[in-house]
Symmetry: C2
Subunit: 368 residues, 2 copies
Amino acid sequence: MSASIGDVAQLAGVSVATVSRAIRGLPNVSPSTRDRVLRAAEQLQYSAHPHASRLAAGHTMTVGMAVPVLTQWFFAQVVAGAEGVLAASGYDVLLYSVPDNHAKQRFVDRMPFSKRVDGLIAVDLLFVSSEFERLTAQPVPLVTVGTSHDGAPSVTIDNVDGAVKATRHLVNLGHRRIGLITHHQPHALPFAAPLQRRRGYELVLAEAGITVRENLIAPGNLMAAARRVAPLETAQGSSRRGSLALQGGAEAMAQLLTVDRPPTAVFAESDEMAVGALKTVRDAGLHVPGDVSIIGFDDHDMAAYCDLTTVAQPVQQQGETAAALLVEHMHDDTGMRETTSVVLPTKIVVRATTGPHRSGRADIAAVP
Amino acid sequence: MSASIGDVAQLAGVSVATVSRAIRGLPNVSPSTRDRVLRAAEQLQYSAHPHASRLAAGHTMTVGMAVPVLTQWFFAQVVAGAEGVLAASGYDVLLYSVPDNHAKQRFVDRMPFSKRVDGLIAVDLLFVSSEFERLTAQPVPLVTVGTSHDGAPSVTIDNVDGAVKATRHLVNLGHRRIGLITHHQPHALPFAAPLQRRRGYELVLAEAGITVRENLIAPGNLMAAARRVAPLETAQGSSRRGSLALQGGAEAMAQLLTVDRPPTAVFAESDEMAVGALKTVRDAGLHVPGDVSIIGFDDHDMAAYCDLTTVAQPVQQQGETAAALLVEHMHDDTGMRETTSVVLPTKIVVRATTGPHRSGRADIAAVP
DNA sequence: CTGAAAGCGCTTACAG
DNA sequence: CTGAAAGCGCTTACAG
């Protein structure tokens, strides 16, 4: 079929051991020999059979990457980011989609023992402790993005802080009746992004002396429908729902417009929901930001187009950082697995959908 | 580290050969022996080392998938579709991003000879004949999606026909001045989707006795910017540009609104451009479809949300079909590579952005 | 139905 | 600096 190391050895008149060394750039090969080998290899279009070298050398030069679903904006970005740095370091990426708990179970059961990867990146996968233990009880290093577990390096953003920025922006514009469109999932774990973002919202209201009103908080996640499409509990579900989030945001906003004194500003936990909300407001004949200010979260591709004010998070960079961390760990043979957790910064991007509260500081004055 | 086939053999009291056969469900193993082996394997949490079995068996059980860039909607969908059926057939997917000509060159040079995959799927990659020959001059089967080359199975859609449907829809609504927002790339090959879609447009105008007017055709591709982001010439660039397309569509529409007698209907070669166009029209204070009808192409996630009339193409299904075709070819040891090319159907989805020409059949009456 | 042995194509001590 | 040989963990004829 194609040339083997033996063919090259024969052509170059050396042993296969020497070919192996010459080609991999190992020391202890005389320049002239190396030259001859390289020329022979070139001539035969030789490249090492990866499975053979991996078997012999004991490493695979590939890393496994598990994501809930590739079709969602966030995940595709993260994978792309990781793939870039992994490729640059000579690693192939093996893709695993883990759309539901069954797939997660299978991933946890099989992956660590399948010996086919040198490292693992898990994006937005919430592992219960038994799963996580199983995953780390073996020599393949793991780094998580979007979630963090004690015992593995992780890459995340500070969701509370991001939400604080968003809410504070609205408060500083004079708003007092501030709505929240959430993507809280029923049984989500405590550190899930939706809960964290809600927490930031509540923190700022408290610090501004504004009472949290339940009727100003609307779920934008269309639970039944979302569950059908993406049955897996993910940590940052908010940013990842695809077009359902548009619709969910639209409906949540519609609900907010029915309450007694509707909000003059709304923080949506994701840009997609924010864009949906935008539509509802405009369809209702109201103006943004004249009547209602809206701020999102993510800096999704659509955000710039819609002139949406938002809290930007670096998405591709989360993949890149995770990959860099992983590469470092794979090269680190000391076996000691220090658990770096890097928290990437968010930053507010003010565009055209937020503005000062209409009645100036009226509302504020109304509150003692 | 983890159990090997030898450990299982020892525990079960049989030879490794028998373990191998029992575990892979080969015939010629007595039920009781098989049972004992399976139990032992279970107990040791044994799973075969993939590199070893692949080396020995001569196949890799993985397929390589090359896409221009994973971050674009279309490509992520296609990969997800393919990954699904590949996983179901027991294949892993190795991801290659081929964002520019340099990467393409490297892919063509190395991939086929790297012996690391049993098959290849190339999405939207335009190969010149020398590249294509190199790719097919080896035993690894290739299937292309979005492009088709003589000599390899492919899955595509009929872009001409899709565009015919779109344009005919507008003509049937009584429109005569029909604009086109193109995504034609300067040096694109003849079969590239943008050209095909344009061809469909021209075909229908001709059949309706309407002259093609150059000033009603506007490029929506923001060439300089697009080139910076995605330097590779792709076949169906129109559908894949991300947010640039939104902006490009918006600008193209703005241009169309400046001509002497502006179009009463516009066919945009992609939904993203159509959505951009929608914005321009509304920002100008005009109504859709009252003043201008707009139809897109793709049935992108955003289309339903925007109530955009469009020509839907099955996107995930293109990945699924390609994967199924490839699996079939990989299982086919006859070596004869019949070149099935499957063309998936498009279908028009009428929503709220197209409507009858305002002045009824006036325009039509004006033309003999 | 089962086992002993060769072989897949490399890498890596070990000698020299 | 270079080579002979063992070994990585499986699979696959070949015997029996």
